[in-house]
């Protein structure tokens, strides 16, 4: 954490980095994390909450172990992204935004991941999986604990 603060000329600039750090540890951003970060960067908790609600990568509730984020923007859409979403929905009985009962998967539709040349693309947690076919996607899902 000291390393994070030492990089910036002021404390508030560390906000997003601290939120990333907290989420990497806890899987989501809890109310107490928001209070702690607000104390650390010396601002009102509402300002930190403002960030949490604005940025799509921060979650205020626990998610599944594997966040399956299917890009749905145009280049992925015309290359079969909808079929990938349907595949997860049929296989695990979860719709976009839902988590399996065993907390293994959360399915999400996301906007452009910036990898249109290898559409369709799915990001699972931190990793990109590019140029997916239904078969490869299925194997990938099976391989995740």
């Amino acid at each position: 954490m000291d390393r994070i603060f030492s990089q910036y000329p002021d404390k508030k600039s560390a906000t997003l980095s601290l939120l990333h750090l907290a989420q990497a540890h806890e899987g989501y951003i809890s109310g107490s994390v928001i209070d702690t970060i607000a104390d650390l960067v010396e601002c009102h908790p509402a300002i930190v909450m403002d960030c949490v609600s604005f940025y799509s990568m921060f979650f205020t509730k626990p998610q599944g172990r594997h966040k399956i984020q299917v890009c749905q923007t145009l280049s992925c859409s015309v290359n079969g992204a909808d079929a990938l979403v349907d595949h997860v929905t049929n296989k695990f009985s979860i719709k976009p935004g839902e988590t399996t009962d065993d907390k293994r998967f959360t399915l999400m539709k996301v906007e452009c991941l910036g990898s249109c040349g290898t559409a369709p693309v799915v990001q699972i947690n931190n990793d990109y999986h590019e140029g997916l076919t239904n078969e490869r996607f299925n194997e990938l899902l099976e391989s995740l604990p």
């Binding site: 990333h20 960030c51 859409s77 910036g114 249109c116 040349g117």
Partner: protein, 432 residues
């Protein structure tokens, strides 16, 4: 266009091309050595003369942008490398970061030196985690070799580079939204003026440059402004990374001189359309550009001027190809949904307008459209984007150009494929 040799991507297929030893083996950091012996003003002058125009989307002159930084200010100056690549259809900066991160870093050091900056940032989009990890290694290599830190290359110039991760927000690619985000706030664009060069990060003079723009700099310094100007189109020269995706056989990033024909890009470089289907429409410069019909697309050069003449723009050079099987109303809805999701919510015309576009287009796609919906779509796009005339530098009714970025493509879909929209609506009338 005879024998263009790639400049930025020359070595990307070679083993270990991302490492410092490799980059040095192909002449890396020679330009930096040269720059450190020059006066900062001379560096700015050279880049101005090269007529390098920003590769992020707006196409503003890089040297002129640097020139706005006040010389007499004793505030710290900041350089921010905009690596928040998020314009749909654009995936070139990610390639540069993965394959030649030192090229980009050398460009950053050159730019920082030119504007007298001692702390620079890489604002990388949050989803690019692998690239973030890789860039941390790149910086570590550079510090180790004294390419960053105190007394770079034995000079008295000091520079630290910090990587900062975004967290999922398209609007943070807009430079003032990016600055707000870096300051630890939601990425709401600022009213301009003041421009960042006068009042940017922490109210200090700030330059924001795109990854590809920065990657051009070592080459301009090594080979000179005249060499750069000799490549491609006169009014916006240089090599350019064109991204081609959508319904093509061989999607990817293709480095070509500015001004290559769109036809050549689609049918030669990207291998044409699968199963020899017909071309229907193309986004020439990311999803914020107005779409071109097949006829227009086959007759356009990919440079700043020719695309403006066709009432579109080069933008981020992200080409999205749509063949005859792509439904124009659904494609329009897809893009409108993207913008509705990404609208930052600050300006009412954009926040409300994008939501209404999605509602109306969804209704039309579901066969519930009404006869006057077409006129209403025009009205909403006018209300978000105003009557756009880029040649006069005019902006619409919102703080940032996001308003135009949604109004333009949506309007172009309706204008150019009105029949398809009407056929959805007429289905309903026929049933009724």
């Amino acid at each position: 266009m005879n024998a263009f040799k790639p400049v930025l991507t020359e070595h990307i297929h070679q083993k270990d091309c991302h490492t410092l030893p490799f980059y040095k083996s192909v002449g890396g950091y020679k330009a930096l050595e040269k720059v450190l012996a020059m006066q900062p003003d001379a560096v700015i002058q050279e880049v101005k003369e090269s007529n390098l125009r920003g590769r992020g989307g707006a196409g503003f002159s890089t040297g002129v942008k640097w020139g706005f930084i006040p010389k007499d200010s004793d505030q710290p100056k900041y350089l921010i490398n905009n690596a928040d690549e998020s314009e749909p259809g654009t995936f070139k900066d990610r390639l540069l970061m993965n394959k030649t991160p030192h090229q980009m870093l050398e460009g950053m050091i050159i730019a920082s030196y030119a504007i007298n900056c001692n702390t620079a940032f890489i604002y990388i989009r949050g989803e690019f985690y692998k690239e973030y990890q890789l860039l941390k290694e790149t910086l570590a290599e550079a510090y180790q070799a004294n390419l960053l830190g105190q007394g770079i290359f034995g000079s008295d110039y000091n520079l630290d580079v910090v990587i900062h991760r975004g967290a999922g927000a398209y609007i943070c690619g807009e430079e003032t939204g990016l600055i707000e985000s870096l300051e630890g706030k939601r990425g709401w664009p600022r009213i301009k003026p003041p421009f960042p060069a006068i009042e940017g990060y922490l109210h200090c003079p700030t330059v924001v440059n795109n990854v590809e723009t920065l990657a051009c700099l070592p080459h301009i310094i090594n080979h000179g402004a005249d060499w750069f100007k000799s490549i491609g189109s006169e009014k916006g020269p240089g090599p350019r990374l064109f991204c081609v995706s959508g319904t093509v056989n061989n999607p990817g990033v293709f480095e070509e001189p500015m001004g290559i024909s769109l036809k050549e890009l689609i049918f030669d470089r990207a291998g044409g359309i699968p199963e020899n289907k017909q071309l229907k429409a193309v986004f020439p410069g990311g999803s914020s550009s107005a779409i071109l019909t097949a006829e227009e697309a086959l007759d356009v050069k990919m440079d700043f001027e020719d695309l403006v003449e066709k009432k579109s723009m080069l933008g981020s050079a992200g080409v999205i190809v749509m063949d005859e099987t792509v439904d124009m109303v659904q494609a329009c809805l897809n893009i409108a949904r993207f913008y509705a999701h990404e609208s930052c919510g600050q300006c009412t015309p954009c926040r409300e307008g994008t939501a209404w576009l999605v509602k109306m287009l969804t209704r039309i796609v579901n066969g519930q459209g009404k006869p006057d919906d077409i006129d209403m779509l025009y009205e909403i796009t006018d209300n978000i984007g105003g009557r756009i005339d880029f040649s006069k530098g005019s902006f619409g009714k919102t703080i940032c150009p996001f308003g135009e970025a949604v109004a333009w493509p949506v309007r172009s879909f309706v204008e150019k494929f009105e029949d398809e929209f009407r056929s959805y609506i007429q289905q309903l009338e026929a049933v009724a």
